[in-house]
Amino acid sequence: MQKTADVAIIGGGISGLSIAFNLAQAGVKNIVVLEKNFLGNGATGRCGAGIRMQWGTELNCLLSKYSCEFFEQAQELFHNNIDIEFEQGGYLIGAGTDEEVEQFKRNVKLQNDLGIESVFLSPEEAGEIMPHLDITKIKAATFCHRDGHLNPFRTTEAYSEAARSLGVSIYEYTEVQDILLDGDKLKGVRTDKGDISAPLVVNAAGGYSKLIADMAGVDLPVYSQRHQIMVTEPVEAMQDPMFMGFSLNIYIQQVPHGSFIMGRSDDSEPTDLRLTSSWQFLEKMSETCTTLMPRLGQLKVVRQWAGLYNMTADAQPIYDEAPELPGFYHAAGFSGHGFMLAPVTGHVMSRKIMGEKADIDVSCLNVSRFKDGGLLPTESSVV
């Protein structure tokens, strides 16, 4: 393994790979990505892989719009032939409460002002888009036809192949065990395969980002929480959009293969990095799903799994250089949306690392906001 690097990126998930790709594209040489397992083994390969521009805060709308537009042109931008299966069947978001109806009206106004073509729908109009939805269970809905979902494994491969072809070295099964310091200055990283000295280190370790920050002795106010997903047997295509609801507590999509993939949140989920599956999830998820979509009750569940949301107090990411340790960068705390934000993560982090201005000002996503009482308005459009 090489002994030196200009930039060492910790984490071979979609965020780390996107940062590597963007840096390499901008001409940075000698970049290494260090992944303790195989690429995408963390939250990247475990996520729902939904891509949407329908958010409740301006910044999230702008970040996700950048990402969605990237995925639309991914094939040309990556210069490879890997099909990421970006299916733009839209996102149909159901309102379950009167408060949500009002919030959704404001959201659509905000989204439209930012150039996001979402619409506010009656339950009947939502039912035309998704005939198997029990429309008596929703009070209204919003829809954006350019939202969709893609294949996280193909996308990981597309990013990693594009990064490799630009000269990035990717080391799988290489675990970072320590951050090397020289006094209070950053020196590099220690892995189980040897030391790499690097003046710039990026913490893109997702669910494990706090462990990496601890190695560096820097504060990263995030925690990880288990989230579960289950998948059914495949059937012929019957649902184009991703359906989601916040108070309804569900997201559900039919992937190109024909399976339905669905998840929900639960405050009682553990925060100790465990990745086990629970029968409670299986039961509650089935109930949530079949209450809204009774026809899907005929489907057999074939598998369930878990991944980690890396949470912050305002459910928005941290894009920053650690104030205590110049050269050490965080791209963490994605709070369940790291996959869809990956293109913009790569863009803003690469510009930050190179000391250049990014297309979107993300200075408010700094790590100090949690101390200074500068929390952002909490995004309500999350599951």
Binding site: P234, V235, M238, R295, Q298, L299, K300
Partner: protein, 104 residues
């Protein structure tokens, strides 16, 4: 009709069951009580239970214990039924499945 049945087995005993009528792709067939759908079809000489949704390759009786999904068929309108472990009932309408299945 019963030429494909196992009549003698070193461990198991098979009692002579009563007739159970059912249909397969529009043809009237007769199985025996105690049959699964797949065993009744096998006894009737049926070897192709459906075709793979993508490749079109013939699918048949394979694991016989409900694991492999090779024997998925449409039973009484419900797709993706593992006929190797589904007990045969009188009047069942069994059809070959050649797609991923359409939910009723």
């Amino acid at each position: 009709m019963n030429s494909n049945r196992i009549l003698e087995h070193p461990i198991l005993e098979f009692s002579e069951g009563s007739d159970i009528p059912f249909s397969f792709d529009g043809k009237e067939l007769v199985g025996k009580s105690g049959d699964t759908i797949a065993s009744a079809l096998h006894a009737a000489g049926v070897r192709v239970l459906g075709h793979h949704f993508k490749t079109g390759h013939a699918r048949g009786f394979y694991c016989a214990i409900g694991n492999c999904s090779s024997c998925l068929m449409i039973v009484n309108g419900v797709p993706n039924v593992r006929v190797c472990v589904e007990p045969l009932k009188a009047g069942m309408v069994v059809n070959s499945q050649n797609d991923r299945g359409v939910l009723p």
